[in-house]
């Protein structure tokens, strides 16, 4: 069973093919990692799948329906959430408010009721805040709930983004380098967090440079190089694939690695 499928995705920027013929599938509860050297097109692929960029060719299917070219807010409504490599948190809002924005799709907006702060609005606010606090608890940020997000540490912001993405109760979660810039303890926490998320039946697609993390938690790995897929399989297969070693280390380095 597949929840998210990308087929033959391609995009060019000014004649350069940033992504060319990339396909992947992920099932509920599965963790798929996308790896590759810098500039391989991993984040671009994420931006296409999440509707931030429009692709030149190829299609994206979410739960069997064609969602190619839908804007991010419509994709979010269909159960696709993501985080960003370069943090995109709401700096001037508190940590709890950031997560509450993530619950936007689960809330009713009624401008008149909100302007006059009717009891229904207060009640809904309390429910949203409770849900947000539970998520902050899950990512270990409960104590910073009412701190301005702009003053949180980098690692905390990364986890805050994950909590915000989870607040929408997604079926597919795209994580763009969740462990980048995190210390080993924080990476360990993110590792456990991702496993817990997947255990709930959410499909996780991960872009990550931390190979230890990738090899440990991935069910499958897709390797990109210069916008093209060069390997796809279980962590063990990918690790021993000569094309992958070459992409990372160059021809000479791959020979050295093979001898070692």
């Amino acid at each position: 069973m597949t929840i998210l499928a990308a087929k033959d995705i391609g995009i060019s920027f000014g004649g350069i093919k940033a992504i060319d013929g990339v396909s992947f599938e992920v099932a509920p509860g599965q963790i798929l990692s996308i790896i590759g050297p810098n500039g391989a097109g991993k984040t671009t692929l994420f931006n296409i799948v999440s509707g931030v960029y429009n692709r030149d060719h190829g299609s994206v299917e979410l739960d069997g329906e064609d969602v190619t070219g839908l804007p991010p807010d419509r994709l979010a409504a269909r159960g696709l959430s993501r985080t960003f490599q370069n943090l995109q948190i709401f700096q001037r809002m508190t940590a709890a408010e950031n997560v509450m924005v993530g619950r936007h799709l689960r809330e009713r907006c009624n401008l008149l009721a909100e302007l006059f702060r009717l009891p229904s609005v207060t009640r809904q606010n309390a429910e949203t805040r409770d849900a947000a606090l539970a998520l902050l608890d899950e990512v270990g940020l409960r104590a910073s709930a009412d701190v301005a997000a702009g003053s949180l540490s980098y690692g905390a912001c990364k986890r805050l983004e994950i909590a915000r993405a989870l607040a929408a109760e997604p079926r597919v979660l795209l994580l763009d380098e969740p462990a980048a810039g995190c210390n080993p303890v924080e990476t360990e926490e993110i590792d456990e967090l991702i496993r817990r998320v997947a255990a709930k039946g959410i499909a996780v697609v991960l872009v990550e440079h931390d190979m230890k993390l990738v090899m440990k938690i991935s069910d499958r790995i897709l390797v990109l190089n210069r916008g093209k897929p060069i390997a796809d399989g279980a962590p063990r297969e990918v690790r021993d694939n000569p094309a992958v070693l070459e992409a990372y280390l160059g021809k000479h380095g791959a020979r050295e690695a093979a001898r070692a």
Binding site: A76, R92, V101
Partner: protein, 222 residues
């Protein structure tokens, strides 16, 4: 009424001039001022036109004391409504859009819808304030729709603090009272006014109220 008008005005512009929205609206503002100046049949042209006194249930509203209390009441009401909105799904969507539009979209916020709502709310506030001004003076002229007046209003908001309800009130108060206080310096008045605004923008980038409230929060924490 002006809410409806702004709804109509916001739609095509939001769709077609997404990137240069601000320029488009500024241009429209200039056009409105031009029309008001030229169409003297309805507006009295550059000389302005008299406005009939407001009559409420047979009570003829006049006198600056009466209007002081009415506009004061409107200010309190407007502030209360805006503060209410701050901590609601719509208010959070507005603030989220302000901080990171792409993250807001990924969280499922319909950017066009909420920007349009923000426009309409702002238009309703502006139209209520404008109507009160015209009714109080019993007179209105095209200067009120002029480009410089728009710039002055924006300066008030930026000086007080973008995204802060109290900030815009403080900004307006400062920008109205400062020139009057500075008249004692006679010919240096404009120089000093410009200097004070530049200095406050350098040292209080986010505006008076957000900067001060942050400083206060830091002091109480430590």
């Amino acid at each position: 009424m002006s809410g409806v008008l702004d709804n109509l005005r916001g739609r095509p512009i939001l769709r077609f001039l997404w990137g240069c929205l601000l320029i488009g609206l500024l241009g429209l503002g200039v056009l409105v001022a031009l029309v008001l100046t030229t169409e003297s049949r309805w507006t009295g042209g550059p000389d302005g036109m008299p406005v009939a006194k407001l009559v409420l249930f047979g009570w003829r509203v006049s006198g600056s004391d009466t209007w002081y209390w009415i506009t004061g009441g409107l200010l309190v009401l407007g502030t209360w409504l805006a503060l209410n909105l701050n901590d609601t799904p719509t208010g959070r969507a507005f603030r989220a859009l302000h901080d990171s539009e792409v993250a807001a979209r990924v969280a499922g916020i319909d950017v066009a819808r909420f920007k349009l709502q923000a426009f309409v709310i702002a238009a309703v506030y502006a139209s209520v304030a404008g109507s009160a001004l015209a009714l109080m003076n019993g007179f209105i002229n095209p200067d009120q729709a002029g480009f410089l007046h728009s710039v002055e209003l924006v300066t008030m908001v930026v000086l007080g603090g973008l995204g802060s309800v109290v900030g815009s009130i403080v900004g307006a108060a400062v920008l109205i009272t400062l020139p009057q206080v500075l008249t004692v310096f006679q010919e240096y008045e404009h120089l000093l006014l410009g200097f004070i605004i530049i200095v406050s923008m350098i040292f209080m980038r986010d505006g008076i109220v957000p900067t001060l409230s942050r400083a206060l929060a830091r002091r109480t924490q430590s």
